[in-house]
């Protein structure tokens, strides 16, 4: 067993356990903290997969900015323990059943290769600078320049939307 494989399994256990922790924790703040750990584990996966730029972006954007926003809103609303009561009693068992069906379908597709998902176990050999910030930036600003610019418009719309949504309406 190589070092990479051992690292993968340890991180996989961390990622799955933190995801389950987010799912079952009663307090929304704990759920957010579990999710931050999960994002950090995924960031290390990105490092294993030769994507250092994405790993750093994951930590700053996801674990940093987005989760801080989540924690801020949870604490602003005092919503740590809200939303516990189930209105429909049949809803939770049904949800678990549907989740298990989804899991069974995914296992079937992955095992049988029905989705055309047959890949060689050995990856393509890559350049040493694959996924480096310079490489990613070159591709982003040449081949994907238009999507990049559209992204800026999307962020502008999000900013305007967020401000309009939380504005106090004058009567």
């Amino acid at each position: 067993m190589t070092v990479q494989l051992i690292l993968f399994f340890i991180l996989a256990i961390v990622a799955v356990l933190t995801a389950v922790g987010m799912l079952v924790s009663k307090n929304a703040v704990y759920a957010a903290l579990y999710l931050i750990l999960n994002f950090a584990a995924v960031a290390v996966f990105y490092l294993l997969l030769n994507a250092p730029f994405l790993a750093v972006a994951q930590v700053t954007v996801y674990a940093g900015a987005i989760m801080v926003l989540f924690l801020f809103v949870i604490m602003l609303l005092g919503a740590e323990k809200l939303g516990q009561s189930q209105v429909q009693a049949w809803q939770r068992p049904l949800a678990i059943g549907l989740g298990l069906i989804l899991a069974a379908e995914m296992v079937y597709i992955l095992v049988s290769g029905a989705g055309g998902l047959v890949v060689a176990s050995q990856g393509t050999t890559i350049n040493p600078d694959f996924g480096s910030p310079a490489n990613v930036g070159m591709e982003l600003f040449t081949k994907y320049l238009l999507p990049f610019e559209v992204t800026s418009v999307l962020l502008l719309v999000a900013i305007v939307g967020a401000i309009v949504m939380t504005r106090v309406e004058k009567k």
């Binding site: 799912l23 997969l49 994951q58 990856g123 967020a162």
Partner: protein, 100 residues
């Protein structure tokens, strides 16, 4: 190198946990966090396949997904705050009327 299939299976597990979170939890903020978990699971599969096929495009798509997620969170949390202001609740079962 770790086989790409392992990453795909891990990504599928994380996605299913996220989907379960959306279905089971009633707190709108936790539902939102589960959606983030699902986006992240998809990102992981993208990066795994980008490494497998030595294609930088896969990594760039993750970059765009991150941007969309950030925009979505900003608007979504603003919506939750607005709903909380009018209904004093973020239980998704109680948000069943369209007019505030």
């Amino acid at each position: 190198m770790v086989p790409v299939m392992y990453y795909v299976i891990l990504s599928a597990i994380l996605f299913i946990i996220g989907a379960l979170g959306v279905l089971i939890r009633r707190n709108a903020i936790v539902v939102f966090m589960s959606i983030e978990l699902m986006l992240n699971a998809a990102n992981l599969a993208f990066v795994a396949f980008a490494r497998q096929y030595a294609a930088t495009s896969g990594q760039l798509f993750v970059f765009f997904v991150m941007t969309v997620a950030a925009a979505e969170v900003a608007v979504g949390l603003a919506l939750i705050v607005a709903i909380f202001k009018t209904k004093a609740s973020i239980n998704v079962d109680q948000i069943n009327t369209l007019k505030g």
